[in-house]
Symmetry: C2
Subunit: 405 residues, 2 copies
């Protein structure tokens, strides 16, 4: 996962505020062995920028937003990066495959470059070996002089900045598509920095239209004031495919094929744009990150509870009991976690090991994502909160024909 939110919180300007969460007697199977009627307040800190929905949405919907400039030339320098996290295997194995057989990435007007972004972590089948590569593309790391004991990923970030950047320079790649998996039930998530990235919004729209049988939610991950820190930020533009759920270190053929098809469709879109296709304006629904919530913890910092089953699991009904129904009976799907679904005030969010429930007592409905993502335990994140927004995306005009010879 590319991961909204920085690893080194002290290096990034963040504002924090509190939302209220409360505990209540849990209703599950342990209730009978635990003290009844416990209700106490717990304050959970949500880190992130204060929401400014009111201020920003009118801007978006009236088209007065500060848009990232759309490309004025064909995109010829395009890269597809896999294995930015070495245990997210869809991208690892696609990158390895394309490095052997790059034909799939060729289009008439360009050939996308396959890159195994973190080969050392991929060889170890770990997210990273020194520090999270996808939090390392900041000016602090990219511009500092090399030191003998730099973590591997700092060195690798500088290499990738030379290969695909330099960041914020005219020599940078035109577009980087970065491939990620998550253990959370994010489905086929299309992640871009912000709504004002008009080219990325059109690409997301194209992928949605090309995949009518998939729900392809769009996640806008960048918090206001946050410095970009991910691999594709060294290019002029980019976005992320975030497919899940898939455990770390596991390659599922269905997600592998889906990601492969999405990359093909993304390259087709760039080819259409390069060939002079115009794309009309449209209305977009998306989920914008507003902060994140940590697990309940002991005084020593260890977990004191887990994500509540009612947040992680859509329905508690299991398969039919032995002998109580035909095995093929159609039952509600218990595996569908509630990423991108509304979390309303009063709903349970955590289940304490002691048996209590922790309830969400925010003022408004939010849409959690990355619920219980394995890689975020160490970052103190149980889930991200997003708000669902709708906005108008202006047309993407056709490129002007190239001047004649």
């Amino acid at each position: 996962m590319p991961g909204p939110g920085p690893e080194d919180e002290d290096k990034v300007q963040l504002q924090a505020w509190d939302i209220g969460l409360a505990t209540a007697q849990r209703s599950a199977d342990l209730a009978q062995t635990l003290p009844a009627g416990i209700t106490r307040a717990i304050n959970m800190q949500v880190r992130g920028a204060r929401r400014s929905t009111e201020a920003r949405e009118p801007e978006l919907s009236t088209g007065r937003m500060c848009s990232r400039p759309v490309p004025q030339e064909p995109l010829r320098r395009v890269a597809v990066t896999g294995g930015t996290h070495g245990d997210e295997l869809s991208g690892v194995y696609l990158a390895r495959h394309w490095l052997r057989a790059p034909g799939e990435l060729q289009r008439p007007s360009f050939s996308a470059l396959p890159v195994l972004a973190n080969p050392v972590a991929a060889a170890a089948c770990r997210r990273y070996v020194g520090r999270d590569l996808n939090r390392t593309f900041t000016s602090t790391f990219l511009t500092a002089g090399a030191r003998p004991y730099d973590p591997y990923e700092v060195t690798r970030a500088r290499e990738l900045n030379q290969l695909l950047g330099p960041k914020a320079s005219g020599r940078a790649f035109d577009f980087v598509l970065d491939l990620h998996n998550t253990t959370a039930n994010m489905g086929t998530c299309l992640a871009a920095d912000a709504a004002h990235n008009v080219f990325a919004m059109h690409l997301c729209r194209h992928l949605q239209l090309q995949n009518p049988d998939l729900s392809c939610p769009v996640l806008l991950y960048q918090l206001p004031g946050e410095e970009s820190h991910s691999v594709h930020s060294v290019a002029k533009n980019g976005m992320v495919l975030e497919l899940g759920p898939q455990p770390q270190g596991v390659l599922r053929a269905d997600l592998f094929s889906r990601m492969r098809a999405l990359v093909a469709a993304a390259l087709d879109f760039i080819e259409l744009f390069n060939q002079g296709t115009a794309f009309p304006a449209f209305e977009m629904d998306a989920y914008r990150a507003v902060g994140h919530v940590d697990f309940p913890r002991t005084e020593a910092g260890d977990l004191a509870g887990a994500v509540h089953p009612l947040l992680q699991v859509c329905a508690l009904l299991g398969p039919p009991a032995r002998g109580q129904g035909p095995p093929d009976t159609c039952v509600p799907d218990c595996s569908q976690d509630r990423d991108f679904r509304p979390l309303r005030p009063g709903a349970p969010v955590f289940q304490m090991f002691s048996g209590e429930d922790v309830l969400y007592e925010g003022e408004s409905t939010v849409y959690p994502v990355f619920i219980n993502e394995a890689a975020y335990y160490e970052k103190g994140i149980a889930f991200f909160q997003t708000e669902k927004i709708s906005f108008s995306v202006p047309a993407l005009p056709a490129l002007a024909p190239a001047p004649g010879p």
Copy 2:
């Protein structure tokens, strides 16, 4: 996962034989971009002991099997081990919780000892830091003298052998219940070494009867001739709870609660036995390991394909397409992988990155388990093959009353 099958194959007597697998044109979405009509044979080696179903099943069904002796005394020295693999979090967090609050493990006739088996790996949230602890309880490691550069887990195995063993001695613990998770769709799997472990079979039966709403398949994991190598093998008896699917490094509240309830029921069973309860004979169905199958690989040893969607996913039908059905439409569950389900000759088992299917061409139906388990990639195992067997388990007689004072 405790894992049938040794890590160091050269140290264990194994027989290997070939089953035939074939490739055929795959029918999935890539078919149109790939050469059509490819059909070639691939031989996949299955490592394990040759099946001897015909010789063993009559033995079992007529009660002439060489049974492990049933306990003649109450079981007073009982341990529950979690975190034998540091990234299987149900057991890690249960062990940590019980170390702070051991009351749940107390019964009138005994108090079970909670043990965090691999605390260093648990702190790092990794399966192990030096070598797989659960493959280290062999005489080679336990009896050799300590050396300065022993992997941590070799040292830890000796410590646990002192705490819970020594292995094969009269001073060893009476019973060890070892807690594991798997990324595979194993559900609530009860794993014991072999059908002749009458006490463990009765415990499995008790857990099945206590959980009529769960399918609790019994896995018999030990291959004939294989030296026991897992943590509970240092005790006089033991078994494994293997709950999945759960990604490594993730704690799901539903599996945490289920494992907690299963441990409580297991201790209740031991208490009943200790108090003089007799348990009648019954018929048991179980899945007995017969070997394992590696992924298709390139000449360099890298993956050349993935577990086939039709082996990993029960049904390919997804949720209703956007706008093509109400969101709560009852659809077949796509997440139910085919662990413990029959794999018949001719069925696809792998999907090559090149687009071909690899078919199972064994002579008889097998029941794959641990399909696509993350921890087994490094061991060269895509799934285990088991055979489904039925056998009679003799009665577990009541303990003789303790002699009067």
